[in-house]
Amino acid sequence: MSGYEEIILDHWRRPRNKGRLPDATGSAVEANPLCGDIVRLEVKVQDGAIAAARFTGEGCAISLASASLLTELITGKPVAEVERMKDEDLLAALGGVVKTRLSCALLPLRALRRALASEGPPRRTLPPSEV
């Protein structure tokens, strides 16, 4: 079976940066009601750069792998650079995604953009509940 790209399977099986970020400065939840995918992306911005990024979520392999990979891609990067990230950049990093599943792959990026837009002072610690 041709299947998914190895990078998708890898991030799906061993998600990086999964969990809540208690001292997040920005956070957003995006959902795709069509398939029930839901992703929460949280970032901690310090000195104009992404000091930490984490996600929680439920859904298909593509959306969860994409969220995991995205947190890796942006950690340590200047916010200005992350804000310039295009859909195509994430899709390329995933090794390409079939066109019928683009909305799954891009869900975490939509959450990231909103998380950055919501950016403010660090929140108080939240209970470590799931999405």
Partner: protein
């Protein structure tokens, strides 16, 4: 089924991702045989004009073909031609029923009873009517087996119940509901019974007399016919009391600036230029199905469903939803692979040329009832072969190996 049937569906000869297409999404829409495609094309080439208006010969001919199609549909379901209303599909047919009954039968404080297994098309119109008329919408429960909980349905019936709307064959679970039994109970409290037959008329013998309902809706495109054409069957006396959903040309008698009088059914409900060529195509689809015989269509569906269920139930990582009894369900199976999202299953099967549906199949409340966001569904029709079902089962094993 005969190899000749297979050859009547040209699209089944194509490839997807370099693999022969295995189309297992017939519950969403069915493929079209050459006689249907040709009937529509021939009508445009030879007999096309608008219906009901023209006095010239070509218009009369087009009208004749349109009415001939109505007669074929009526004969298929054991109805009189005057009881068959052409709509644009099941959704419009159910909206026509809901908006009409909402006006004539539903008062504030009344109840409308649906079931938890309704397609959104047989839920949302009733939600709207209930909200606008100040009525209450109740839903009969679905048992864990995927069958309708008849005790719950009975308990929710009362003299305040004005409409009972239910699906004949569930588009997710495949459950065949005992419509005649429900209709008898509903009629006892004076309720009108509306049936969504989108998944039953294309696959099994349906006689509206035996069904015992008052209004029955179905679509052309799921029964080998064109898109854009559907049917609302109604009891003559009930149709006569319903107001039109669409007002405009061709559905009136007399029009003044301030008032108008409606035509009789079925014309009253066919405002505007109807899908004429699509009706002709649907007539050809009915001919095609009747030539095979609806009993034979049903048997073929049962055989394929049995094969698919045997395969799915033998795999411990597969959860099957619905009755899991080929004799008690439509030609489809709904399932999930443990821990794997249906869209991943559908995408990986697509890589092998196998088209199945992954999602909530326009039945979100039903999926919520089973505690799942979505499910996979494989569905069949006359052109589906046992070999295709076997290919699907082995491909499913490769998906499992890939993603487990």
């Amino acid at each position: 089924m005969d190899e000749r049937i297979r050859n009547d569906f040209p699209i089944l000869g194509r490839t997807v991702h370099g693999k022969p297409l295995v189309y297992l999404d017939s519950a969403a829409t069915s493929m079209k045989p050459i006689p249907v495609i040709e009937a529509e094309a021939r009508f445009y080439r030879e007999s096309y004009a608008n219906v009901r208006r023209g006095v010239y010969a070509l218009a009369a001919e087009a009208n004749e073909r349109y009415e001939e199609a109505r007669g074929k549909v009526a004969a298929l379901i054991g109805a009189g031609p005057g009881e068959v209303v052409f709509t644009h599909g099941t959704t419009e047919a159910l909206n026509l029923a809901a908006w009409g009954l909402g006006e004539t039968r539903v008062e504030p404080g009344d109840e409308i009873l649906v079931t938890e297994m309704e397609h959104h098309a047989n839920l949302l119109p009733w939600q709207e009517i209930a909200r606008r008329r100040g009525a209450r919408l109740a839903a009969a429960a679905v048992a864990p087996s995927g069958e309708l909980d008849l005790d719950d349905l009975r308990a929710k019936l009362s003299p305040r119940t004005k409409v009972v709307a239910l699906v004949h064959v569930s588009n997710v679970l495949g459950t065949v509901n005992p419509v005649a039994e429900v209709a008898a109970e509903a009629h006892r409290v004076g309720a009108i019974v509306v049936v969504d037959a989108a998944q039953s008329v294309p696959h099994l013998p349906v006689d509206v007399g035996d069904l015992g309902a008052d209004l029955v809706a179905f679509s052309g495109h799921k029964m080998l016919g064109p898109t854009g054409i559907g049917v609302l069957w109604g009891r003559n006396d009930l149709l006569a009391e319903l107001p039109p959903l669409l007002t405009g040309g061709e559905m009136v008698r007399e029009v003044w600036l301030n008032w108008a009088t409606w035509d009789d059914p079925p014309a009253r409900f066919e405002g505007g230029t109807p899908p004429i060529a699509q009706a002709v195509g649907l007539g050809a689809a009915v001919d095609y199905l009747r030539a095979i015989g609806m009993e034979a269509v049903r048997r073929h569906g049962e055989e394929l469903t049995a094969l698919a269920l045997d395969g799915l139930l033998a795999r411990p990582h597969v959860t099957v939803y619905g009755p899991s009894d080929p004799a008690a369900q439509g030609a489809l199976v709904a399932f999930n692979l443990a821990g794997i999202h249906p869209h991943d299953v559908a995408t990986l099967l697509d890589q092998e040329g196998i088209a199945i549906r992954g999602g909530h199949h326009c039945a979100q409340p039903l999926h919520r009832r089973f505690g799942i966001p979505a499910s996979c569904r494989a569905s069949f029709h006359v052109y589906t072969t046992p070999e295709e079902v076997n290919q699907f089962l082995s491909a499913l094993d490769r998906v499992w190996e890939d993603l487990r």
